[in-house]
Amino acid sequence: MGLAHFLSRRFVTAIFVLFGVSVITFVLSHSVPGDPIIAWLGRAASLHPELVEYYRQQYHLDAPLFEQYAYYIAGLAQGNLGFSPVAGRNVAEVFERSVPLTLQLLFFSFVFTSVLGITMGAIAAKFANRLPDGIIRILYMGGTASPAFFLALVLVIVFAFLFPVLPTGGTIDPSIAPPPRATGFPMLDSLLAGNWRAFESQLSHIILPSMANSLGIFGIITRVLRSSMLDTLSSNYIRTARAKGVSENAVFFRHALRNSLIPVVTLLGVMVNFFIVSSIFVEYVFSYPGVGNFAVQSVLNSDYPGILSTTLLFALMIVIANLTADIIYGVIDPRIRLTGG
């Protein structure tokens, strides 16, 4: 199977999956108890019953479910995600601000996790079955076994109470004027505007939330890398390299570590999936105004345009991450394409 065929197959599957997700979430969110119009209008609903009727027709809420779904998809194609009562704005407007924030958080979580996971994995392999290996195992088991909200909370207690060095809420120091909007990504905008003070403040605000995200998942990388390195280190070409006198450091880093990183690439999808769930809690604890926080608010307030859009957005992110991992993996290891998966 050629690369083009492999990719197109993956692409079609991704489209199908997104369609399925939209059907599931649509049906589910339309079963949320409570009338959204009444919730939205509040007291006005009981004073002006004709308003309720007006909006019900306006938003096609009296139409059969499949017809509503068609309206929904048609709106989606035009970038209309509906109005969110809990935010008091259109979901698209909420996303305009919160999606870049969450993507920034995911980016830093990804960087922290990779650095932490790969370093720990390499150390654990180097000192396999000795003390450092044991300590690392305890560390990542503790992280993996803790709920995200708890990891976030421990970080807040440590860095707000024991060593007050990092801010534990928000995205930027309120006394610093945020940079002008250019790309939509606040940190990138600060860099582009050359505003170092703002960037520094944003960076210090994102460290703890992304660390909280990383602590729960770096263990998977460490574990996979450790065992793949131990496999590689006992393979023939490593023995050959040693035999021809390559230094131990070069063997370890250039030969073993580089090749052992291939299986780690497949973890990209798993990581994004984990970060999305974890961010919901982490954003909530750190009052970080991203999509995760909005998802929690929508769920707690039966805001169904909010629930529907966030779930769909999360699925889209996961599908893209899996697709990317497949493509990278298919390119660096052509054997994968043959199986067609």
Binding site: I24, V32, G142, T144, A145, P147, A148, F150, F314
Partner: protein
């Protein structure tokens, strides 16, 4: 019978011989034992009534009388943590058993029969894998209105796809075994082949996985209850305790820490035991 017993005693020897697995087994057995005692005997197993307020002693530090201290209403934190344990035990067991049954069955049929059934099932699991189960469960829990039972159902509904994939992969392997093929050729009905040959082979793999998975369910469950989607206060529950005590984390950090640590220890127990079982299974396979 004799062989079964010796295999069992060998397994037991292996499991207790490995230090990590032993620790895991102790935690898991302790968790179920305390849950059972707490569920049947109630207040008799804890030093204080978990709901009883004591306005004279709010925020006492952990000590000899209140081992884990008291909360803002003077309630004993240790008693509350122990009383909440049966919830975690019940939810995790229920969700895993349902996922095991539904996923195991669907996966086995689809892997063994193949064809359009297989294709359809795999595409459905694709969709489920694109939505994080915790998020889907969260949405369903809201639809059903928050309570312990409804949260249990929501998790059970979304939890089976991993089991279906695992079971399918095993069934594909089993279908190629010579004795299964010869059973098929000799005209034994599919139903019987599934029952006698396919399920028993899949069972061990799923069992090992589900041991590890109970910990994951406990994490998801505590997350949902942290958001207020399960038991309603004042009933004690680990997730709710962490979120309720969060505001006192600076003045009384032990309040949110103890219930959080309880979750972590129990989850570690299941993953240690699960790892042990997995390497035992790998050895038996060789």
């Amino acid at each position: 019978m004799e062989r079964a017993r010796s295999a069992l005693s060998l397994s037991a020897k292996y499991l207790t011989g490995n230090r990590e697995t032993l620790v895991g087994s102790v935690i898991v057995v302790g968790f179920y034992l305390v849950s059972l005692l707490s569920a049947t005997l109630g207040k008799a197993v804890v030093p204080f009534d978990p709901l009883e307020q004591n306005v004279a002693r709010p925020f006492s530090s952990p000590g000899l009388e209140n081992w884990f201290g008291t909360d803002e209403l003077g309630r004993d934190v240790f008693s509350r943590i122990v009383t909440a344990m049966p919830n975690a035990a019940l939810v995790s067991l229920f969700v895993v058993v349902i996922a095991f049954a539904i996923g195991g069955l669907l996966g086995a049929i689809s892997g063994y029969k193949g064809g359009w059934i297989d294709e359809a099932l795999m595409r459905i699991t694709d969709i489920f894998f694109a939505i994080p189960s915790l998020i889907l469960a969260m949405v369903i829990a809201v639809v059903l209105t928050p309570s312990l039972a409804n949260m249990m159902y929501s998790l059970a509904i979304v939890w089976w796809p991993t089991y279906a994939r695992l079971s399918r992969a095993e069934a594909l392997k089993v279908a190629k075994y010579h004795y299964v093929e010869s059973a098929r050729i000799s005209g034994i009905p599919t139903r019987l082949i599934l029952l006698r040959h396919v399920f028993p082979n899949i069972f061990a793999t799923l069992l090992v996985y589900s041991t590890l998975d109970i910990g994951t369910v406990i994490l998801a469950y505590s997350g949902l209850s942290y958001l207020g989607l399960s038991v309603q206060p004042p009933a004690p529950d680990w997730g709710i305790m962490v979120s309720g005590y969060q505001e006192y984390m600076i003045s009384a950090p032990w309040l949110p820490l103890f219930p959080g640590i309880a979750i972590t220890i129990v989850v570690i127990g299941f993953s240690l035991l699960g790892d042990g079982l997995r390497s035992l299974q790998r050895r038996r396979g060789q």
